[in-house]
């Protein structure tokens, strides 16, 4: 028993390892993993990477230009901008990744349920989706974030509002899979609903979900930056959006370009990285997506290459063919 379990764990680990290797082999995936990896390491080792603290007020040194001590300068209170960005990565990653996972999980569950478990559940879920699609999301979030300003609240609100896109996509996918003959065959063979769901439908939508997670992580990071920019973020933690608010107040007039550019670059790198991973997953899991570029022989125009292939197509003449036939009949072709 124990041995079986360990074997299973081993094969699962090996499967995951192979999968990661596949991502690394894909050029987009490699780029994405490197970019996200840098940000993750920066977030984890923020206290090691910077000698400054987030609450190290040093007003005398405020609004300093980038220098050797402060690579990106300091803000109004003399706090190092680079330090703020490093710590800001933490909240951005936490919110982006948890929301991405939660949204995918909730959206997938509701999407599958709406497609597979009867008309009542479908009607209820589709109506909720219709309402959510009409409500302007940002204003609703602004109103709801008055509930509590903790970043956990932000994750909850994002999840509550953001799942409908995923649910619609999953529902459409499940519906199209259910029309496939192999699902019908499984039903005819007497497979129970939950068996078919876990054995057949889940694997078929899983690639969509993995990809969706990566892409929604990217989307929610941008949304988080926007919300904290309009002042709805958690006041107790540093975030990239917040750095930009402070920058708009002071950096513009004093021409501190690094203060404005660096947080934006940080957002771009992280979001771009996640998106690249998403696209790589799409290519790996859905091979039809991969479009090979037409092979091009060096220095030969396609017309010339086609000409060469045309030449290969010539038929032999009847006389040659007759000779060949005679040869074969005598058996003399064997050398």
């Amino acid at each position: 028993m124990m041995k079986k379990l360990t074997n299973q764990i081993f094969s699962a680990v090996r499967g995951i390892g192979k999968f990661i290797l596949k991502i690394l082999k894909n050029p987009k995936g490699r780029l994405g993993v490197i970019l996200v990896g840098i940000v993750v390491l920066a977030a984890i080792f923020a206290p090691v990477l910077t000698p400054y603290e987030l609450d190290a007020y040093d007003v005398a040194n405020g609004l300093a230009k980038p220098s050797r001590e402060h690579l990106l300068g300091t803000d109004k209170n003399g706090i190092d901008i680079l330090t703020q960005i490093l710590y800001g990565a933490r909240i951005s990653l936490i919110i982006g990744i948890t929301t991405g996972l939660c949204v995918t999980l909730l959206g997938a569950t509701l999407g599958i349920v709406s497609a597979y478990f009867g008309k009542v559940s479908a009607a209820v879920i589709l109506n909720i989706i219709n309402v959510l699609l009409v409500i302007p999301t940002t204003p609703l979030m602004m109103i709801m974030s008055n509930l509590s300003s903790s970043y956990l609240m932000m994750i909850a609100i994002f999840t509550l509002i953001g799942w409908c896109g995923t649910a619609r996509m999953v529902r459409a996918q499940v519906l199209s899979i259910m029309n496939m003959n192999y699902i019908r065959a499984a039903e005819l063979a007497g497979g129970s609903k939950s068996y078919i769901m876990f054995r057949h439908i889940m694997p078929a939508v899983s690639h969509l979900l993995i990809m969706n997670t990566a892409l929604s992580c990217a989307g929610f990071m941008i949304a988080e930056a926007g919300l904290s920019f309009i002042g709805l973020g958690d006041p107790s933690v540093m975030s990239w959006g917040k750095i930009l608010v402070a920058a708009q107040e002071s950096a513009f007039t004093s021409g501190l370009w690094a203060w404005v550019l660096a947080p934006g670059a940080a957002i771009f790198i992280t979001v771009f990285g996640f998106m690249q991973i998403g696209y790589a997953l799409e290519e790996i899991l859905n091979p039809r997506m991969k479009r090979k570029k037409a092979a091009r022989v060096k220095n030969v125009s396609p017309e010339a290459a086609a000409e060469a292939v045309f030449a290969e197509m010539a038929d032999i003449s009847e006389e040659e063919a007759d000779m060949l036939k005679a040869e074969f009949e005598k058996g003399s072709h064997v050398k």
Partner: protein, 368 residues
């Protein structure tokens, strides 16, 4: 067909009902005492006075009574008085709506215009430079928050190089003078001419051209040119930012659907008929390729409303987004309720119009 639209109207009304209910319950969840905003200026210890206000506004009634009371007021379009501005919510909103319209409508129109052109050029010839540039740009811009782009351009064009103003919708100290009745008269008159032309010539082009033309004519006749130019000067930067990202997303949409439509069988039929390439392109490919754009424009109205919050904050634009932000920060929930409802109504109406327009171009009924 009628049944389809009836269903659509009913579901829209249902959605609005849900939003109104949400509107009622949200403030009661957010504030420990929903009567709080009504006490503005009333001292803490004036308990009798507070109780009187409570009684007057019905906060002592059971929740269900309050709910129906609220429903009744919404149906009669009575949104109450903003406690922060000390004015009726309607008045506050109406002073801001035109400013939001300036930004959203103009950036929408420009984005659609440039998006179609860019997308068509890219989609017509794949592997063309325009196509590569478009794909590259869309890859980059989806990863850049547009508000950051706005910040950078503001710093560059309004602070480092003082080309554009950095805040507001008009130069400080000026107010817009607008002849309201004249605006309406011209708008209605030009629209009427357009509708008349549509019925005489049976070409729906006039309706679509009529909307922007009548708006432009009404504005030009009712607002002094200097004011229009001043607003345009202030709106230039925010509109350009919105148009930049809008153009790319619409262009990508048009490009993808152009490519999809080009390989459709009926395009082959059109070519086999011996139609000139430009006729195949404009009458067959284009007409089908723009269908997804109609849906997308209609759906993106909701996003534009919400997205305007960030732009309006950055450029201190006196629009609805900024108003909503202030209302949220001031706990002015009667105002924020009304704004949320207004946004939802706009979205529902836009979706409905989208459906009608879509149906005009695609006779096959499709549930959007």
């Amino acid at each position: 067909m009628k049944g389809y639209y009836l269903k659509k109207v009913l579901s829209s009304l249902f959605v609005l009902f849900i939003i109104i209910s949400l509107n009622f319950f949200l403030p009661r969840m957010i504030f420990s005492d929903p009567a709080q905003p009504y006490f503005a200026g009333v001292p803490e210890d004036a308990i009798a006075l507070r109780e009187q206000i409570r009684e007057e506004y019905g906060f002592n009634d059971p929740l269900i009574v309050q709910y129906f009371d609220y429903l009744g007021r919404v149906i009669t379009l009575d949104f109450g008085e903003s406690h922060y501005y000390k004015e009726s919510v309607w008045k506050v909103m109406f002073s801001r709506i035109p400013w939001s319209m300036v930004l959203t409508v103009s950036s929408m129109l420009f984005s659609i215009f440039f998006g179609i052109i860019f997308g068509a050029v890219a989609g017509k010839k794949r592997e063309h430079t325009a196509d590569k540039v478009l794909l590259w740009l869309s890859g980059i811009t989806t990863a850049i928050p547009s508000f950051w782009l706005a910040l950078v351009s503001l710093m560059l064009f309004a602070f480092t190089y003082k080309i554009f103003p950095y805040r507001g919708a008009m130069t400080a100290g000026y107010t817009l003078t607008m002849n309201g009745p004249l605006f309406l008269v011209v708008l209605v008159a030009v629209m009427a001419v357009a509708v008349a032309l549509r019925f005489i010539t049976k070409k729906s082009v006039f309706i679509f051209a009529g909307i922007p033309v009548s708006l432009a004519a009404a504005l030009l006749s009712s607002v002094p040119l200097a004011d229009i130019l001043d607003v345009a000067y202030h709106a230039a930067l925010p509109v350009m930012i919105a148009v930049f990202s809008g153009t790319i997303s619409y262009a990508l949409l048009v490009r993808n659907s152009m490519i999809a439509v080009t390989s459709e069988d009926y395009i082959l039929t059109a070519r086999a008929k011996g139609l000139p390439p430009r006729v195949v392109l404009y009458k067959h490919t284009f007409r089908n390729a723009l269908l997804p754009l109609i849906t997308n424009v209609g759906m993106s109205m909701a996003g534009l409303m919400g997205g305007s919050v960030l732009t309006e904050k950055i450029f201190s634009w006196p629009g609805m987004g900024q108003l909503l932000l202030d209302a949220c920060n001031n706990g002015d929930y009667l105002l924020s309720q009304a704004i949320l409802l207004l946004f939802a109504v706009i979205t529902v109406v836009c979706n409905f119009i989208t459906d009608l327009v879509y149906h005009k171009f695609d006779p096959r009924v499709k549930e959007v």
